[in-house]
Symmetry: C2
Subunit: 361 residues, 2 copies
């Protein structure tokens, strides 16, 4: 069976004050369309996954939000992390869960808070990807066609094409580059943004974690004895925090890329499928701005708020439903209100928003 795994444990600190640790952006209707980002994420996959095959891994403190926003997902499929340990323990948790139920499972792993324009193409890519990995020991990442030399993303360097398919071998994963390096990547043409979307069989996930993160794997062997039992919550709370905090990219993808390995008796490689379905990680106000409708002066308002914009240009504005706002004479600002916290700053300073948010600590 195919399983969808949504990683929803982030805190979205660059979207302050709209996104905050107590209500991060995956649980917010950031685009003002009536659905939160995690709801849009599930919507995007359409009917490809039965509700019992949809899994959400999130922080324990967001359990109620996930249940409220995704009522179709069974409670048992909402896995709660007692603390943040990056994505490798998160993937291990859901892998150990699913392999008990469905050892043949194929896992599609997706962040909860990204945005895709062309969902039809998205589904086509996901289906092609699932078909590519199913029954193999390969790992397939989706690589986003880069549209600008962005220094905020990691890049995937593609190697040779895999036969007649649209899939390429991964030569290397590259960390967030300096601007000059990013420009070089774009001019070379075989670099893609790493969107954190990847597909592999549960058996591959398990085997690679056992290979590269044996301690975390041993902890999950212990934890899995409690799965479905009364003491599951207590065991997770005790042992999960002992996992090493490391991303799945560092732990597995990078260690396997550009190499020939054997896993579960089959060739295991890391591949990338160049994907062009209009993607944004909505990682900052600026990336949200590019996704929103603008008025004739380039101002974008999140949602249908009581916002009156006068003699202003190129602003992005967000206010709670119960808030009224009059803005006059602002060029290129972010103006955002949430829950009695107000931010006004220049758009070009958005990288400092996390720092701004710490002004009151």
């Amino acid at each position: 069976m195919n399983h969808l795994v949504i990683m929803a444990g982030g805190v979205g600190s660059r979207f302050w004050p709209m996104s905050r640790p107590e209500n991060p952006k995956q649980f917010i209707d950031v685009l003002g369309v009536g659905r939160t980002l995690i709801q849009l994420t599930v919507d995007r996959f359409g009917k490809e996954f039965a509700p019992e095959n949809i899994w959400v891994v999130t922080s324990a403190k967001y359990a109620d939000k996930v249940k409220a926003q995704l009522p179709e997902v069974p409670s048992a499929n909402i896995l709660l992390e007692p603390c943040m340990r990056n994505t490798a323990p998160c993937i291990a948790y859901v892998t150990w869960k699913i392999k008990q139920i469905d050892p043949e499972a194929t896992l599609v792993i997706s962040p909860a808070d990204h945005f895709v324009v062309n969902t039809e193409e998205f589904r086509r890519v996901i289906n092609a990807g699932v078909n590519f990995v199913k029954g193999t020991s390969n790992i397939l990442t989706l690589g986003m066609f880069p549209t600008r030399p962005d220094t905020g993303y990691g890049y995937i360097q593609a190697g040779d094409k895999e036969g007649q398919s649209e899939v390429c071998q991964v030569r290397a994963f590259k960390e967030k580059p300096q601007l000059e390096v990013a420009k070089q990547y774009l001019s070379e043409g075989n670099y893609y943004w790493n969107a954190g979307l990847f597909i592999w069989d549960a058996a591959t996930a398990e085997a690679s974690l056992r290979e590269f993160e044996p301690e975390t794997s041993a902890l999950f062997d212990k934890m899995s004895e409690s799965f479905g039992k009364e003491n599951e919550r207590a065991v997770i709370d005790e042992l999960f925090p002992q996992c090493k905090s490391i991303s799945i990219d560092y732990a597995v993808m990078e260690r396997m890329s550009g190499k020939t390995m054997t896993m579960n008796g089959k060739d295991a490689g890391v591949y990338v499928m160049p994907s062009d379905f209009g993607w944004s990680d909505l990682g900052t106000w600026g990336s949200l701005y590019t996704q929103l409708d603008k008025d004739e002066h380039g101002n974008a308002v999140v949602g249908k708020q009581n916002v009156c914009i006068i003699e202003s240009n190129d602003c992005i504005v967000r206010a709670s439903d119960n808030v009224k706002m009059v803005l006059q004479g602002l060029d290129g600002y972010i103006v955002a209100e949430d829950n009695n916290t107000i931010l006004v700053c220049k758009k070009e300073e958005e990288q400092r928003i996390k720092q701004f948010s710490e002004s009151f600590k």
Copy 2:
């Protein structure tokens, strides 16, 4: 006896969103000093007036606010207007009230929402003014030394000095002038801002209203039959709205200025006492800005709020106690929040704030 009359019926629309019809600025701690403007107004007069000689005329809807903020003022001294009819009916109401109790009364009339820096000099001027009018039929206005060619105030043109006193005859009242005219006034040196502060005997107030506003006076003759009786509220609600809406300046002061009249058998003139006690009507954000402490970048924050100001200059900022604000990269802006309404606008556009406030109507 000397009576203090505080006119507190204004709506402070230019201070939106801090000041609003449901909570206008006289009831707000605009300066962040722990006292509202109406409290500061009473404080300013010190012990000169016994509580039973302090009167507040306000809109019926502000009755609870006045009682809460000025608990020392007897309830019977809080006069409630069922609707706004400008200052002449307001003065008539309190005059007809006081003359029943104290026909020899001298009335000091003061707005509720102004600010004075030097209260010692203020009290000296008030005392001198009371002494000047007591037992006469003269009207004394206080004229503020103008410090700039402000086009937002009416001006009082002074004539000859009255003997050895610091008081001058009033030659004319001038409406809010154009800038060129205001500059001319300043260069001539005998023009003062009309602050709406004036002193006269109750008998003079009554006689002049009977002379110039006979219809309003007749209405108050009727209304006064109910004063102190059970039906007072009902009678006021019925008859007060029939009063002509006119300011006391138009109704009386302007008609008497520059003339020689007799009232109650005595010479009656309009005089001005040039006054220099550091005055502001706090009529706009800009006039408040000049009264507040600034940080080294010229930013003024009303009160001790959670406001973090970064790379900004010459801003005036106000937020509710429970609101946090981060501002970055703003030069010369008003940023004000109150009760889920937020205004960001350039300081030089403050005259348009009333219009901005109507954006949501």
